[in-house]
């Protein structure tokens, strides 16, 4: 059983689709376990093309969808959105606690704090360079620097924890 979330939102949805002659109708939807009231949505696949045909509230729109990893990238109604797939029962949020991660692969230019130092919210902790532009890593909240994992000149990959902040 799959669960789905939209963009950065932590809400988990479980849809029930009914297949009638190759046309899927959304029959039920639960949001974090509770039933949601839904209007009628039916989806068919456009023959000989990668489009989906979406009927909703009496209008027809087209959507393009493609899967990248565990994400469905969707172009619908002139907007692009990402829907994430989760195994049912997986952990609600994968937000790291206290750790500040590298948003991009790049190089550390300057570390402005030391281990044990108190910082205020919004204070610059570290400056890194990615794609020839500088990015400042700011403290999301006031706290104490628990660890500093890199020094100036280090190359870092995307997602690695740069600095850990405690209360």
């Amino acid at each position: 059983m799959m669960e789905w979330s939209v963009g950065e939102s932590a809400k988990k949805y479980s849809p029930t689709l009914v297949d009638i002659d190759g046309k899927y109708t959304l029959n039920r939807l639960t949001e974090d376990g509770s039933e949601k009231i839904i209007s009628k949505i039916t989806i068919t696949k456009d023959d000989n093309s990668r489009r989906l045909i979406i009927e909703h509230n009496g209008t027809i729109q087209y959507a393009y969808a493609t899967r990248v990893g565990d994400q469905w990238w969707i172009h619908y109604d002139g907007r692009i959105n990402v829907v994430n797939m989760h195994e049912a029962g997986s952990k609600g949020s994968d937000a790291d606690e206290g750790g500040l991660t590298a948003p991009m692969p790049g190089t550390i230019l300057e570390v402005q704090v030391k281990q044990g130092q108190r910082v205020r919210e919004g204070q610059t902790l570290l400056v890194m360079e990615a794609m020839k532009m500088e990015h400042r890593i700011l403290a999301p909240n006031a706290g104490e620097v628990i660890t500093v994992n890199f020094e100036a000149g280090d190359r870092v990959d995307m997602g690695v924890t740069l600095i850990e902040l405690g209360d």
């Binding site: 899927y24 000989n48 493609t66 969707i74 907007r79 692009i80 991009m104 020839k132």
Partner: protein, 512 residues
């Protein structure tokens, strides 16, 4: 180029991405053999595909590849190319490279090295403009060298110039090495950031300060000069919509420029170009105050990213003109023959996440369907399936619309952006739609500080209902779109008609 004094039949394009594609296609149209260069990550890139021949540049860094003058000149010689077009960025504004190209007996498709040198250094450019009677930005001029007591000198000059001010690296450009300082206590931090950015991007850490004019517009004039002293201008482009000095949307003509201002600014731009004996295409950038005064900012001695909006509104192909001028042909057009037709807007499509402070994004362009409707031009170096990496600039494409009026161009832009299917990499397409729909932009009132002084939540996108998106994703999974991605299934035909694709189905589309 029949009858040209210095004809050439082949050109090497010392660049990559959309501009290399643009120039190589122009070469092909002109009957020239096009030679591309590429580094390892670009093996199989679009610019390599469209070239008649491609030369590999070994090495990992830009210095070893696209910025390697010797290797590029050698590539031209080995491939038999007779001319070099530098595109924009990379070596395009390096006077020493222009000299090396000429010394190697090749045709340099660009202005003389001396013009690049004078205009490339912001301080010498400013002096030359003052001497030639071109108005410059009010404020004090100052050169700071790294070795002296630079902070003391800087602070003293900053106090005289007054805040807010702009610290600029003399060798900067494209928003790099340029920082606004709003109060004295930020001076040191911003100076150091500017110096670092400039030395990282351009190999020169010199900076200087000037007064920051707020509430002004960025308006630039396209100039076109031949090697016989003839010079004309091709009207203005308004690039006021910027984020941290990076242009976001550009348009021609400017909603703030009257025929009177256009004539005065155009004449001044031609004067500026002639003061450095300019040749080829170039751009003179001005700040236009709300009172209609304008001040010289800098001259870009190359083709600009936003050149297509000038091409669409004048009907003049700037790359072909570059070829003609470089081959020694005279301008075959007079100032009074330059027209201004309709309105054009360019949107720069970046791989970046507007909702996360414009963080650059990477990934594979899993689906990439540019809009193709009348009045839409799409310049890109990417194709579906291409990988967006951190190796190069995050600009993916330029979407340019042309329509009879500004109002129609705005509508066309919104339609084109909403039709653009770019999946797999986060882009600024949705952000661009929001910005272009804001009254400040639709009313033509945007000044250069607009984006940086407006809360980003203003531009947050409306989202479809979660239920619809979840239903689409779940249905796409059930239809197996993840398994058949990339190719249409041949077994998919209409059971009733026996044809693939029901011709009547498209007729039921409803328009909101």
């Amino acid at each position: 180029m029949v009858g040209a004094p210095h004809p050439f039949d082949s050109v090497l394009v010392a660049n990559r991405g959309e501009i290399a594609v643009r120039v190589l296609r122009a070469a092909s149209e002109a009957g020239l053999r096009g030679v591309a260069v590429y580094s390892d990550p670009d093996e199989g890139a679009l610019h390599v595909e469209v070239a008649d021949e491609a030369v590999h540049l070994p090495g990992e860094t830009l210095g070893e590849t696209y910025l390697n003058s010797e290797a590029i000149i050698q590539a031209a010689k080995n491939s038999g190319a007779q001319a070099i077009h530098p595109g924009y960025g990379f070596l395009s504004e390096r006077a020493d490279f222009a000299r090396m190209v000429v010394a190697a007996g090749l045709v340099w498709i660009g202005p003389p090295a001396e013009s690049i040198e004078t205009m490339g250094d912001k301080i010498s450019a400013r002096r030359r403009m003052i001497d030639s009677g071109v108005p410059v930005i009010p404020g004090e001029e100052l050169a700071i060298s790294e070795d002296a007591d630079h902070l003391g000198t800087l602070a003293a000059a900053a106090a005289r110039v007054g805040y807010p001010l702009l610290i600029k690296a003399s060798a900067g450009g494209g928003g790099k090495g340029m920082r606004a300082v709003h109060e004295p206590r930020m001076l040191r931090t911003e100076y150091e950031a500017a110096a670092r950015e400039a030395s990282a991007a351009f190999g020169d850490g010199t900076v200087y300060v000037e007064r920051l004019l707020t509430g002004a517009r960025h308006v630039e004039i396209q100039v076109l000069c031949d090697s016989y002293g003839n010079a004309i201008h091709l009207n203005e482009r308004d690039c006021s919509l910027q984020r941290r000095h990076q242009k976001v949307l550009e348009e021609a003509p400017s909603p703030a420029v009257t025929p009177l201002i256009r004539a005065a600014m155009g004449e001044t731009a031609v004067q500026a170009a002639q003061s450095v004996d300019y040749e080829g295409v170039g751009t003179v950038e001005f700040l236009l105050s709300s009172r209609g005064d304008f001040f010289f900012l800098e001259m870009n001695t190359r083709l600009q990213v936003e050149h297509p909006i000038t091409e669409l509104t004048t009907g003049i192909d700037l790359v072909q003109k570059q070829f003609e001028v470089a081959s020694g042909m005279k301008l075959a057009i007079q100032q009074d023959e330059v027209g201004l037709f309709g309105h054009a807007i360019e949107a720069r499509i970046y791989a970046e996440d507007a909702s996360k402070g414009f963080l650059p994004a990477i990934g594979k362009l899993a689906m990439w369907r540019p809009p193709s409707t009348p009045g839409v031009r799409f310049d890109s170096g990417f194709r579906e399936g291409d990988e967006v990496t951190v190796d190069f600039d995050p600009m993916l494409a330029k979407l340019i619309v042309h329509a009879p009026s500004r109002k129609a161009a705005l509508r066309r832009l919104d339609t084109a952006l909403s039709d653009f299917v770019a999946l797999g990499v986060t882009t600024n397409v949705g952000f661009l739609r929001q910005v272009a729909a804001e009254p400040a932009f639709t009313n033509g009132e945007v000044t250069t500080d607009y984006l940086d002084s407006t809360s980003l939540s203003t531009f947050s996108e409306p989202k479809p209902e979660d239920a619809i998106l979840v239903a689409i994703a779940a249905a796409a999974s059930r239809f197996g779109l993840d398994r058949t991605a990339g190719s249409a299934s041949v077994t998919d035909f209409d059971e009733h008609s026996g044809h693939s694709g029901d011709p009547f189905r498209t007729l039921t589309r409803s328009f909101p």
